[in-house]
């Protein structure tokens, strides 16, 4: 079952959000497109691509008990298609619900 035809009409940001949301059941998901901050550097100058660099903040129960590396890998694995089609870098903050509550230690 392939919806490739329709998904490519959506922006990368939308695709990323929906993939992460459905797989990780995130309670918080903030995605910022910061491609403009990297527009100057060499590799980007030649490309006319947009949506190449993002900052992601994601909170999910599924990160419980996982090291930071494992959490980031989970995210990267879900986004491997994007990473191969022009997503250049993703800055990730991945926490569990417990970690973001103010009185949590």
């Amino acid at each position: 079952m392939s919806f490739r035809g329709t998904t490519t009409l959506l922006s990368r940001a939308t695709r990323i959000k929906s993939k992460l949301q459905s797989s990780l059941e995130a309670t918080v998901l903030e995605l910022d497109d910061v491609s403009y901050q990297h527009a100057g550097h060499a590799a980007m100058k030649e490309s006319s691509e947009k949506e190449t660099h993002f900052n992601l903040k994601i909170v999910s129960d599924k990160f419980e008990g996982q090291s930071l590396v494992k959490r980031h890998r989970m995210v990267y694995d879900l986004l491997s298609d994007e990473l191969q089609s022009g997503l250049h870098a993703l800055s990730i903050v991945a926490k569990t619900p417990k970690e973001i509550t103010p009185h949590a230690k």
């Binding site: 930071l68 980031h72 890998r73 990473l83 870098a89």
Partner: protein, 238 residues
């Protein structure tokens, strides 16, 4: 600012030197010379600097040094601003008279400045592109991360990291005084193909990548988060 006679014995805290020197060292042929002395076969240089910038007696080039003339100025209020102003006005004077910058001050001439502490060189995976590898690159990577406690794969060299995330990572490692090895993933001569190989090896799509005891710790985000929690020294330095 007062000019003092050359044989003055007083050692003020901040002094400005204008030194014209003759050196007899054969190592200094790259210095541009004043025309007058060139004719007589001697090599000569002039240099103007605030005294904090010179390590005159310790970093002098090999060979004999003889001062032809010494102009000494004493700065009364020893603050950086005053010293810099004095330095600027002497430079301007010199340039006005001679038409150019004193040879010893030319950019790139570091003979008279305090030597920088030497930084470790970046590690290289291969001896060069022209050499046929007998083992796959992935194996070389594996060996490298297992033989060295901390390895940072970065974009650029450790002395000149090229991208923001790589710069940040080097900044943290340096700040915490971690003893680490660095590998420039953009070096196409000695690390050709490394980027793709490393992405597969680590199962991690981006750079920089930091390894500890043969395992991937993460990239810039993770290292930054550890740094903010004060975990870096404890983890990387034992």
């Amino acid at each position: 600012m007062m000019d003092q006679p050359e044989n003055c014995r007083r050692k003020p805290e901040f002094m400005l030197f204008m030194i014209r020197l003759v050196t007899f060292s054969s190592l200094d042929c790259r210095v541009i010379l004043l025309p007058l002395l060139w004719r007589t076969g001697n090599r000569c240089r002039s240099f103007v600097a605030p005294s904090s910038g010179i390590d005159f007696f310790h970093s002098s080039p090999k060979g004999n040094i003889e001062a032809l003339s010494l102009r000494v100025g004493v700065v009364d209020e020893p603050d950086r601003e005053a010293l810099t102003q004095a330095w600027k006005s002497w430079m301007e004077e010199y340039i006005k008279v001679s038409g150019k910058v004193p040879p010893g001050n030319e950019s790139g001439n570091v003979t008279w400045t305090r030597p920088q502490p030497k930084k470790k060189p970046d590690l290289r995976l291969t001896p060069g592109r022209h050499v046929q590898l007998t083992v796959p690159l992935e194996e070389l990577v594996d060996k490298l991360v297992k033989e060295n406690k901390v390895v940072a794969f970065i974009k650029g060299s450790r002395s000149a990291p090229l991208r923001g995330f790589s710069q940040k990572v080097i900044g943290i490692l340096e700040k915490e005084g971690v003893d680490y090895e660095s590998v420039n993933v953009l070096d196409e001569d000695y690390n050709y193909g490394l980027r793709e190989t490393l992405k597969q090896y680590s199962n991690w799509p981006t750079f920089p990548q930091i390894f500890l005891n043969g395992e991937l710790v993460g990239g810039c985000d993770i290292l930054t988060s550890m740094f903010e929690k004060g975990e870096v020294a404890g983890l990387f330095k034992n």
